[in-house]
């Protein structure tokens, strides 16, 4: 399998295109012959991170790095930042406004869902500057 890397740019509040980057990433992974179960994990985690950027930030970018051993996704945003990351990692904790909940998101499952699907996750955030979410998914030999 060849390696690949690239970037998608995300625009805050652009709900019409929310999810398009994760969809494109899914297509790239399918084209590389990665197993469907692994693609599903990557796509779900990437989609949650993408939605967080669209919901909370002014803008952001999603970088992906694919090697024969692993997939690394890094989402950096220019958003309000997360004051308490431990609290944000708890299922059900959310600061999303009602109109986001009406879209089916903002239920406090974003970061927990990323963690659930990733083999490793790091979240770094500076209040007033933005948040960087980076996760890895291993491509084991049996994959």
């Amino acid at each position: 399998m060849l390696s690949s890397e690239g970037v998608f740019f995300l625009t805050g509040k652009d709900f019409k295109n929310a999810g398009a980057a994760s969809s494109s990433l899914k297509g790239i992974l399918e084209g590389m012959g990665i197993p469907a179960a692994t693609i599903r994990r990557v796509a779900i985690a990437a989609f949650e991170a993408e939605m967080n950027t669209i919901i909370y930030a002014v803008a952001g970018m999603m970088n992906y790095f694919i090697t024969p051993e692993m997939i690394k996704i890094r989402i950096q945003d220019m958003g309000p930042g997360i004051p308490d990351i431990d609290q944000a990692m708890k299922e059900g904790y959310s600061t999303a406004p009602d109109y986001i909940r009406e879209m089916g998101f903002g239920s406090g499952m974003g970061l927990p869902n990323i963690k659930r699907n990733a083999d490793a996750l790091t979240v770094n955030s500076i209040v007033g500057e933005g948040t960087t979410v980076e996760f890895f998914i291993n491509l084991t030999p049996c994959d």
Binding site: F15, A18, S23, A36, R40, M103, G104, S107, M109, G110
Partner: protein, 118 residues
């Protein structure tokens, strides 16, 4: 259970991918919270929801949902239908409530995405 049997049982209207009614459905998940769909559904299941925006289609795509049933005659807009068509995800709409939709399908043998045995 075939998707065409689900259509008949729910007296549903097909909004997208009429040609896919021969598809086999073995599991179903119902929610209006898309993060719950992402967390708890399984691959190749049917999604039953009252939410009709484009995020439902995006969620279905990344969670590899096979088809979607909208309940209580809630109809998505043309952009959502077009996206579903592009992503090859059949859309159905029924007049039944969420509870009745799930009950009818359960009665006919369709089961949830959990491991519970009934």
């Amino acid at each position: 259970m075939l998707l065409r049997d689900i259509r008949e049982l729910l007296d549903a209207v097909v909004l997208a991918r009429e040609q896919d009614m021969g598809m086999e459905i073995e599991r179903a998940y119902c929610a209006d919270l898309m993060s719950d769909v992402l967390a708890f559904s399984i691959s190749n299941s049917l999604l039953i929801t009252g939410l009709t925006n484009t995020q439902v289609i995006r969620t279905a795509e990344v969670a590899t949902i096979k088809a979607i049933v909208f309940i209580q005659n809630k109809r998505p807009d043309i952009l959502t239908i077009s996206l579903a068509d592009e992503k090859k995800i059949p859309l159905l709409v029924t007049n039944f409530s969420m509870f009745d939709t799930c009950g009818l399908l359960f009665e006919k043998g369709l089961r949830s995405c959990s491991d519970l045995e009934f």
